[in-house]
């Protein structure tokens, strides 16, 4: 019996160590990035690289912000992300509520249309979308950068499912009391779906912040570049300055990692909310 127990214990310890080892491998690139962003250029060209820099100097970050203008790209990314998150949350909540709690003509057809649009890959739409943007003179403008990411079809599906669980009698009671539809939406519906809002906002934030394909096509001028675009450009322009590249990667990745650690519950919940198991 005792032997059985200690064998079980040994197995558990083995699996724990295995998981720990895997976690260290997965996290390693980030750990390495953080230390390497304080290194000097020459420290990258050695046969036996060390994890820690010779000394922590912040020259790389200074150069990124002072000479390479990364503050501007940062600001562009912040603006684009903020606008897209705000509009996505608004549009998705309105539509989710409309589809969940009203009966109207054409409801099923319109919902099917939204659902089927999630099956269309970005590659299929990107050339016509670019041509449309070109004709509307939106290429190389902030509006052209933001508009195609202002909502998300899959989140509408998510929102409708989630909002179906709001009790209808609650809404009816408010209507009898004479509350208008928009007031009901603002005062009853919104407070009831806070976790849903968090899920949609965090998911959109991550995807906007990391967006690359559309910005690559629509942005030409330097002053509109977002962080991923700037990093891709830096990577080819200063292809041998690994110190700068590491610092730039750190600048782009660390804010998202921090937000992810704080709000991870909602990202994980998003997967289960979507009902795919």
């Amino acid at each position: 019996m005792n032997r059985e127990k200690s064998k079980k214990m040994a197995v558990r310890i083995f699996f724990f160590l295995l998981t720990l080892g895997l976690a260290m491998i997965i996290a390693f690139p980030f750990v390495w990035m953080i230390f390497a962003s304080f290194k000097e250029s020459k420290e990258f060209y050695v046969l036996k690289p060390t994890l820690l820099p010779e000394k922590f100097n912040t020259d790389n970050f200074r150069e990124l912000f002072e000479k390479l203008n990364i503050g501007l790209y940062y600001w562009n990314s912040v603006i684009v992300t903020a606008m897209q998150v705000l509009s996505t949350v608004t549009i998705v909540l309105l539509a989710g509520y409309g589809f969940a709690k009203y009966e109207f003509k054409g409801k099923n057809v319109l919902f099917l249309m939204i659902l089927s649009s999630t099956m269309i890959p970005w590659v299929a739409t990107i050339i016509p979308l670019y041509i449309m943007a070109n004709q509307l003179k939106l290429v190389d403008t902030m509006a052209g950068l933001i508009i195609p990411g202002m909502a998300d079809a899959f989140s509408i599906f998510l929102a409708r499912n989630f909002m179906s669980s709001i009790p209808t009698p609650l809404l009816e009671a408010a209507r009898i009391d004479g509350a208008g539809e928009l007031l009901i939406f603002r005062k009853i519906v919104i407070p009831a779906v806070k976790p849903l809002i968090a899920v949609i906002a965090i998911q959109k934030m991550v995807s906007s912040w990391n967006a690359f394909q559309w910005p690559l096509l629509v942005v030409n001028s330097d002053k509109l570049r977002t962080l991923p675009l700037a990093i891709a450009k830096l990577s080819s322009q200063y292809y041998d300055s690994y110190n700068l590249k590491m610092a730039a990667a750190a600048v782009a990745i660390i804010p998202v990692l921090i937000i992810y650690v704080i709000f991870q519950k909602y990202l994980v919940e998003g997967v289960s909310l979507s009902g795919i198991k």
Binding site: R12, F15, F16, L18, T19, L22, A23, P29, F30, W32, M33, A36, Y45, V46, K48, P49, T90, V92, L94, A95, G98, F104, K107, M113, I114, S117, I120, P121, V123, A124, T125, I126, I127, P128, I131, M132, P148, M150, A151, E181, F185, N210, F212, L227, P228, I231, A232, S235, K245, M246, A248, A249, A252, I253, L257, Y260, Q264, V268, S272, K277
Partner: protein
């Protein structure tokens, strides 16, 4: 007085009928203009020789599709894409193994889950920069590690024969966390009674996994298989950053980008993207069929 009151209430009724449309209008307009109209427009554009820079465009019928059939570079990019399909079983296996480990309720599960999922939320472009250095043949980290064990270093991305493999390593690191989360959710649906019952019947842990847990994860397998197969068709950012020599990592989407946005042959690029779309659509249909059958 009476008449105007009737008008007011009639107005209120029509207003009431219009309310739901106000709620859904922004979303419907958005989907219409950003996804559906462009998707439909792709086909007529693919029948032209449009450059998109000039208003001049000629109808060329199926010329772009005929050209596509004879385009060696296109077939080469299809071949590259085909090589990337090795990624699918690897990423599913990595996701499943980590999900099974976390499902053992070892200490620190939450922290481990946090770490395993973290590459998924990072920018592909920024993360690719890290791996670009790791893969560097003469002083990169991977070859330093191989050297530490007395092994000869590889050319990684800079060698045409290992370039795809290198990108796959990067992509598995980046994406397996998502497979892990979905498998974890699926594992929570496997009733522990069944596993206990099979253990009492004398089944080994491997047998329990092979004949009970694994088959019960079928919805997760199907979802992840389809998602990652479609993902392979869409590979772009990874190979935009980690470019192998001799177009050894140029996928179909990279090729569409070159033709459409660097050579400005929008008509031709459209023909390629429409063909790709049809293939992906067929796979999606199969997926919906397969998951529907599952529910029955």
């Amino acid at each position: 007085m009476k008449v105007s009151q009737g008008a007011v209430s009639r107005n209120r009724i029509t207003m009431h009928r219009a309310v739901p449309y106000f709620f859904i209008a922004p979303a419907v307009i958005y989907i219409f203009f950003v996804t559906l109209i462009p998707a439909i427009m792709a086909l007529p554009i693919s029948f032209t020789d449009w450059s998109a820079l000039s208003p001049k465009k000629n109808f060329v019928g199926f010329d772009n599709y005929v050209r596509l059939m004879g385009d060696k570079d296109f077939w080469k990019s299809c071949l590259v894409m085909a090589q990337f399909f090795i990624y699918v079983p690897i990423v599913l296996a990595a996701g499943l193994v980590t999900a099974l480990l976390l499902n053992l309720k070892i200490k620190g599960v939450k922290l481990f889950r946090l770490i395993f999922y973290s590459p998924v939320i990072t920018s592909t472009i920024a993360a690719a920069i890290l791996f670009e250095y790791f893969f560097q043949p003469s002083f990169g980290l991977f070859n330093s590690i191989l050297g530490f064990f007395g092994l000869k270093g590889l050319g990684w991305v800079e060698n045409a024969s290992t370039a795809v493999l290198s990108v796959i390593i990067f992509k598995v690191w980046k994406d397996f966390g998502e497979a892990m989360l979905i498998y974890l959710a699926g594992l929570q649906d496997v009733p522990s009674e069944i596993k206990e019952a099979s253990a009492i019947d004398g089944a080994s842990s491997w047998q329990t996994f092979r004949y009970i847990t694994f088959p019960m994860l079928r919805p997760a397998h199907i979802y992840l298989l389809m998602k990652n197969v479609i993902g392979v068709f869409m590979i772009f950012q990874e190979t935009y950053m980690l470019k192998g020599p001799l177009n050894s990592t140029r996928t179909v989407v990279n090729y569409i980008y070159e033709k459409g946005f660097q050579s400005y042959q929008m008509g031709y690029a459209s023909a390629m993207s429409f063909s790709l779309f049809l293939i992906v659509l067929i796979i999606t249909m199969v997926q919906y069929k397969a998951t529907k059958l599952d529910v029955l």
